[in-house]
Symmetry: C2
Subunit: 175 residues, 2 copies
């Protein structure tokens, strides 16, 4: 474990990096790409609620039959791979918050498995293209999965994130 | 693509299997294990709302510092790896529903990237053990990630899943 501030790796004061295992345990397929208006991370909204722009999920042709019935859903859970972030920072200092916090209390793209999830509003499906609103990722981000959003198991309007209530910023610790 | 009913692989009428790419594009680390009361899939609840049993997420020691601040959250998003399911069925006939549907409209464990997500109620954190309620997976399931649940971006109580409204069963197409 290494608590030093490492400017060469963009590390900020208080952050903790670990040694990850030398090998991974399973492999993921990139099943498509997400087309968004944002060419790099600085251009992205702070979180999925920060933009209502239409984004197009381009599914690889081999998976297209899997879209059947999805058009009956109003919201879709999008899982994608944040391949530009370091994976070894277990404690991080988000740009917009004053102090270091545990990675599992943050929605940062930098995490041991850089799998992001966004709940997006489904606009329409055209062949293997799925048009949604409510994403905040960089153009070209690899897609991992789409799932139907069931309010009975996925919606918890009363949930609280205590650390956020006393923080200065309105993001989710993802920057 | 192969539309035949293949009893040898447990395939049901109407299901469609594809050839997956020969290689994967990125690797995941199993960062812990989920301890639940259910030894095999038949014993599991039909979906996360089907049980209120306490389950213990045992994080590997190297990631423990990442739990800081998570105790201020009331709900946590749990991502895990469903390593016992086939990955090539893009159209599936859930056990409890009469007809085949696209995998991306189902919460089936059988999907190109077998990443499941559950929204669980956080009970307490003891060292590297996280006790939650609201999981439905098999004992020993590999953990991929924990995330704080933010109602502003994650809760959509008005979401609808059209195909489910006319189906006979109350599950989420996960069986």
């Amino acid at each position: 474990m290494d608590e030093t501030d490492d400017a060469a790796h963009g590390r900020r004061p208080g952050e903790i990096a670990i040694d990850l295992p030398a090998t991974t345990d399973a492999g993921v397929h990139f099943i498509g790409r997400i087309r968004t208006p944002w060419a790099d991370r600085d251009a992205c909204p702070k979180n999925p609620a920060g933009s209502d722009a239409a984004c197009t999920i381009e599914l690889d042709a081999r998976y297209e039959a899997g879209l059947a019935d999805l058009d009956t859903c109003t919201y879709v859970i999008v899982l994608y791979w944040m391949d530009r972030a370091p994976r070894n920072l277990v404690v991080q200092t988000p740009r917009s918050h004053g102090r270091p916090r545990g990675v599992f209390a943050l929605r940062s793209p930098a995490r041991p498995n850089p799998i992001a999830l966004s709940v997006a509003r489904l606009e329409r499906i055209e062949g293997k293209q799925v048009v949604v609103r409510g994403l905040d990722c960089v153009d070209g981000t690899p897609l991992l999965d789409l799932k139907p959003y069931f309010p009975s198991i996925d919606s918890r309007p009363d949930a609280r994130v205590g650390w956020r209530e006393t923080a200065e910023s309105d993001d989710c610790g993802n920057s």
